[in-house]
């Protein structure tokens, strides 16, 4: 039957004269996939904006680290920081932490979606699974970035200047990190059916990732085992360049710089900032690819 035969007037039960609207769904196209990506992304934002509690709770831990731990330990650490405020030192790590937590929670919503059935509505839609996964990852990244920006606004409180270039560079870095963490979370969520299991797994992954990343200690002169673990942690490659950017804008002694911001090395070779960002992005792309394969394999 052609679309034209479907134009009979439609009786409305309420008596209001609704205009006739018979819809024809177009064949799969790039435009269709872009619309799908966009609406899945938008849904993440709508849900986040309605969840005020989550906005606040995901900031609690970063704030604890920055203001409670940073302030409390600062006197203890003052001998080793060459006059630099400990809070300034941990600030890049705390920024990454805010992003890490929010991104993981965004990915967790996928497990909720499965548990409450909504995932099915997306899975039966005539769009590529890759569009759905990509939309989800972009949505999670956006939301996580929003939390990062809140922490970014606090820079002045811990002695980090509001230099536009610095803010922009840090923003881009945290965007990459947010995307990678969300993609990682979505990859894990594809295999997990229950929210409790997902939370357990992410706790097991997130805390080591955070502590090993050098967010709360300089990454040089560590024991060999810790150095190895540190270099294997993807977070390392987000925290280190972010700290370098921050320290570039600080007036501190060369000795302080050397002690607090030694930079990540591979067998003695200093890994450049762009390569570090590239490592984070590459891991994100790999996780995204695995997640897409996992979701496409499902019926």
């Amino acid at each position: 039957m052609s679309a034209a035969t479907r134009e009979e007037p439609i009786r409305s039960t309420t008596g209001a004269s609704a205009p006739v609207a018979s819809v024809h769904v177009p064949a799969g196209s790039l435009r269709g996939d872009v619309r799908a990506i966009k609406i899945v992304w938008q849904r993440e934002l709508i849900r986040f904006s309605k969840d005020k509690l989550r906005m606040i709770t995901s900031l609690v831990q970063p704030f604890l680290f920055l203001f409670v731990l940073g302030t409390g330990l600062s006197r203890l650490a003052s001998a080793g920081t060459h006059g630099v405020d400990l809070r300034t030192f941990v600030y890049p790590g705390v920024l990454c932490m805010a992003v890490l937590f929010t991104a993981m929670f965004s990915a967790a919503s996928l497990v909720w979606d499965r548990e409450f059935g909504f995932l099915r509505e997306m899975m039966v839609a005539p769009v590529r699974r890759s569009s759905l996964v990509l939309g989800k990852c972009l949505g999670g990244a956006t939301v996580a970035c929003f939390q990062g920006v809140i922490v970014l606004c606090l820079a002045g409180l811990v002695g980090v200047p509001y230099a536009p270039l610095l803010l922009l560079e840090v923003f881009v870095l945290q965007l990459v990190l947010a995307f990678t963490i969300t993609a990682f979370g979505v990859m894990v969520a594809a295999r997990i059916k229950q929210i409790q299991s997902f939370m357990a797994v992410t706790q097991m992954v997130m805390m080591p990732m955070y502590f090993l990343s050098g967010a709360i200690f300089p990454v040089s002169g560590l024991p060999a085992w810790l150095t190895i673990l540190n270099r294997l942690d993807p977070m390392t490659y987000a925290v280190d360049p972010m700290r370098r950017l921050v320290f570039d804008h600080l007036r501190i002694s060369a000795a302080a710089r050397k002690a607090l911001d030694p930079g990540v090395t591979w067998w003695g070779w200093h890994v450049p900032t762009l390569l570090e960002a590239g490592v984070v992005a590459a891991i994100g792309v790999i996780c995204l690819a695995v997640a897409i394969v996992e979701f496409s394999a499902r019926e």
Binding site: M1, A18, G117
Partner: protein
């Protein structure tokens, strides 16, 4: 408005009489054959009911027709597209309403509808009018800005039906559309389904295990243990049974069944605490029964054949008995999830 240039026109399926056509469809899960080579056709514009106890293979069949489950063997076309080879084309032309809710309860009704429209690529200028039309049809237009979390079970089901219609599917699949709803809501859902049938050129394929609802279908297929045991109109099915149902309450059911078999050569069955037997003319049989049966009778009723009798005569059991244990356990296990959101 539907005269559009571009990709949409190419999608129009060949004008086939059959909206759904199934040949030798089989699904095997390991050793278990859930669907065993079924064949049937549903002409365009029909309300077609799939009837049977839980575990009969209804949901597996509907899942195969909706491209959610790959058939082990056999073929099926829906709206002119092969479910094995044109998955996305099938999906674009069908609407789905599942037993369990698939709404995002954080979003409003309108946001759920728009999300669906975007996923299905509904033309932008049509999204508003179409949404209004289908939401008015199910009486939810006034509530479109409310979060779905505030909706009752019946409202959610209506919203799901409206959403399933958002992209003007040619076939609407309703898997147990009224399960878990109170009788009033059930009847209002049926009102919407019949109005929908009158308003739009659409084929409706539904599964149910409520016998009274099967009466609303133009044709029904009874499925049991993975096969279609019979397929016809409700009236023809009832006529095919050809006899009245006599239901007895006695002091000793087993003795009564034995005695009925001996004296009248009629096989009576024990079901739901009563003795049930089929006879050509109930009102003439009952006086003879009273005169000849030695077992005291406490009550007796005679009824014209219903779809329950049809089901019983084709499967040898009532639909409630057939699904009693397994079905109830399954529903009890999933009920908390359904209610919670």
């Amino acid at each position: 408005m539907s005269e559009r240039a571009g990709g949409g026109v190419a999608l129009a399926a060949p004008a086939a009489a059959a909206s759904i056509s199934v040949r030798g469809l089989t699904k095997r899960y390991g050793e278990v054959e859930a669907v065993r080579g079924i064949d049937f056709e549903v002409p365009a514009g029909e309300i077609f009911g799939f009837l049977g106890p839980n575990g009969a293979g209804k949901s597996t069949t509907i899942s195969m027709l909706c491209t959610l489950v790959k058939p082990t063997s056999g073929t099926a076309t829906v709206a002119g597209f092969d479910v094995n080879h044109a998955r996305d084309a099938v999906r674009r032309n069908i609407g789905l309403v599942f037993q369990d809710t698939t709404l995002d309860t954080y979003l409003t009704a309108e946001q759920n509808m728009r999300l669906h429209a975007e996923l299905y690529g509904v033309e932008r200028e049509l999204v508003g009018p179409r949404m209004r039309q289908v939401l008015e049809m199910v009486g939810l237009w006034e509530r479109r800005r409310s979060a779905v979390a505030t909706f009752s079970g019946g409202m959610k089901r209506r919203l799901e039906i409206a959403r399933g219609l958002m992209h003007s599917p040619r076939v609407l699949f309703l898997d147990e559309p009224t399960v878990g709803l109170d009788p009033q809501t059930r009847s209002s859902i049926w009102t919407y389904i019949r109005e929908l049938k009158a308003a739009e050129d659409i084929t409706i394929f539904l599964t149910t295990h409520y016998m009274d609802e099967a009466e609303y279908c133009q044709r029904i297929a009874i499925m049991d243990k993975g096969v279609i045991v019979v397929l016809d109109t409700p009236d023809a099915l009832k006529a095919s049974v050809g006899h009245d149902r006599v239901t007895l309450q006695t002091d000793d059911d087993d003795a009564a069944i034995a005695e009925i078999a001996e004296r009248f050569q009629i096989t009576a069955q024990h079901s739901e605490g009563a003795v049930i037997l089929g006879v050509p003319s109930g009102e003439h049989f009952v006086p003879r029964l009273f005169a000849q049966l030695g077992v005291p009778i406490r009550s007796v009723s005679v009824s014209r054949p219903s779809l329950d009798d049809v089901f019983m005569s084709y499967t040898g059991t009532t639909i409630r008995d057939a699904e009693a244990s397994a079905g109830e356990q399954r529903r009890a296990a999933t009920a908390p999830f359904r209610r919670s959101r």
